[in-house]
Amino acid sequence: MRAGILWAALFSVLAAQAEGVAQAAAVGLFAEANQQYRDGAYEDARRKYLEVVGADVVDARLFYNLGNACFKSDRLGEAILWYERARLLSPRDEDIGANLRFASRIRKDRESGVGEDPVWRFLVGLYELPSPNEISVTFTFLLSALFAMGIRRLWSGRRKEGALWVSLLVAGAVLTTLTGLFGAMRIHQLETDTYAIVTAREATARTAPDAEETAVFVIHEGTRVRVDRSEGTWLLIRLSSGLWGWILAENATVV
């Protein structure tokens, strides 16, 4: 038993040490990539940032800088893709939002109906304001507070609590439920709704997953599309206008 605990502790220490080494390496690569970017070697910086991404780093700052390097390397589609990924992690970051808007303005295709109605834009902004992680942390905090209140009541030994305590408990329960529902909705959306960014210069959408089928429209680099399903090397995509078509999967990357 004791030996088992010792082994586990040793393993944890080694794992933490290994993680620390990997972390230091990733941080070093990130700094190198930043320097290359500052020196104007955007393509080199892009490759270096991608190396950091390959080291299993999921960080909004890394994705944002990578988006910048892609943009400066004339890869608009990739830039929008990384900005979108960064925004998912850090939805209120002003730099990410600004660069995403700027890059979206330069792309060829305009999404019809998106962002035109101010009320709708406000509601979407409100919905996307907290990141999924922030919702998770808030939910955990509220749930802990709720249980802590319950345990405190057990310990206090009081038969009846005051109005303030009851109000706090009810408010906490309602808030926890709402946060849980909102979080479940966001997580469900995150897990089921698949979006992709066109990374090829242009992609021809066809009526069926076959290069010989009729072309229905052409989309260009940077366009955000919803992926309904895939079949072989083809993706069934839907534009914000409702138009749908099959494009080659190599022409787009899932966010």
Binding site: V27, N65, A98, I151, L154, W155, I187, L243
Partner: protein
Amino acid sequence: MKTGALWVPIIGAVSIAIAASSRASAAADIDFKAVVNRTSATTTTQIELTLSLTHIHDIYHIPSPIIDLRELEVRDQRVNPIEIDEQGAIVNSWSYDLSARRAGRYQVGPARIELGGKVYETEAVTIEFVRGSRSATASGKKRSDPPDEKLEENLFIRAVPYPQRLYVGQQLTLEYDLCSRFQIRDVAWQKLPSFSGFWAKDLFVAERLDLHQEEIGHVQFLVWPLRRHALFPTSSGRHEIQPLTISAALPRDRGLQRRRSDLLGSSFSRRKQTVEIHSPGVTVEVLPLPLAGRPGIFNGAVGSYTISASAAPVTLPLGDPVTMRLEISGKGNIEAIAAPDLGEMLGFKVYKPKIDIHEESHDGLYVGTKSFEYILLPETSGNLVIPAVEYAFFDPLAAVYQTVRTEELRVEIWGEGPAIQSSRYQLTRQEIEELGEDIRHIKPDVTQLAGGDAYLHQKVWFWALQALMPLAYAGAMLFHRHRRRLQGDEAYARRRRARGEGRRRLRQAEVFREEGDCRAFCSEVQQLVLAFIADHLNRSASGLTAHERRELLALRGAPAGLLRATDQLLGRCDFARFSSVATGDAEMKELQAQAEETIVRLEEALR
């Protein structure tokens, strides 16, 4: 004489020709037709036959028409007032109320009328009488009421698609008309077709009902145009368009009005009945665009288009932008037209175009113009050429691909400017200054980067933490209950305490043993066993006699062997305490072992 003789046949021939032509013209301007207000009725009701003579020129004498109605009963016969129709023609009409004694199909007409020596004939009309009962009439229905089961023949939605066989992207015009022989009100949309598989546009949607009259299968109907759609199929195959459903209020005591003026009249019964009316479903066959002859630049446009280009200014200093305007006009789905490929614009940096659409429907077809306004930034000075832009489309009427092109445009750029790096998206210093905007700078170096799963909900420990909270609460509740019981239930508290107390006394006894104090050791062992039993039985250890102890232990199910062993242990302890001979260490160890065993057996027995 000879001359006069010559003129007579000429004048005669001319007169005959004029007479013949005027007659022919008169014949062309006269229309004689027969209509019935319905094609079927019961033998207890009537069908109204109206013979209408429409003529542009006034006719001096119009005789009554001749028609053979011997097989039928003519209940009433009247000459209607002369009317002037929408085209200004004069309409004379005669009406006959017909009924039949026997059920069956009857052919009415043709009716004949002779005007100026020429006989005009209507077409024959077939009507049907079915066996009917008087009870329906007695229940308040008019004699001329149509049978209810024939409602759908007198009130329906007509769906007219054109064409029914078309290509992907070609316009399909779909019209819905409400045809009725009743006065109707309160028309409301119930279900609109989704037009799945089509890019749909509304050409016309009725906001109020404007009617006209139309003859459908020899029967006069009131027709209200409801909707007209332009549909552009997005994929090939058979496409089915779901029915359109509306609701409308009919007079409950509706009857086919005896006269056309009644049909148009404003009287509407207060007693009304709301019915749902469904259009038929529409099926069209959509052909794929042919692969043969498809130009490489074709990007899906279907219709008929022209393209034009203009640029301004055509003489400018280096650094100033040129605005190039491309206009694609024609028939088809203008909104779906994609920007044409500009090809390689050598010497220019091209910005995303500003798009403007103007479209309208003309004779039911979508026509319009889509303009693309590009900002071109010259990258060098000199005479630059904006190459001709080609645009390919598929003409569905001719079933061929066609390519149209603009003229080449020339622009003269003068002056010197800083070297501009040619790139498609990345902005140059000069462009950034012009736009007043660029992407924001990168984030600075960091000391730590987040790794692993991006989201907390993807981590196992997150869910373990969520599960831990209710478990912790359950644990706290159990502990709280235990604590309260300890406070309120003395027997429980003593029982729970007995084991710990026993262990403590055993350790103390061991200390005495190690010190060689056999009396203190035996006293401690004795107290340990007695206190353990007293705690489990919730009795005072000092007041518990040996007899009582045995009795209570037996009652709690302790086996006789255990009672004997306990007595023996306590007896040995008593003996050792008061004996003049000191007990050895080995014996004390044996006593300790016996005490431990007895405690364990007692705990099992009293559990």
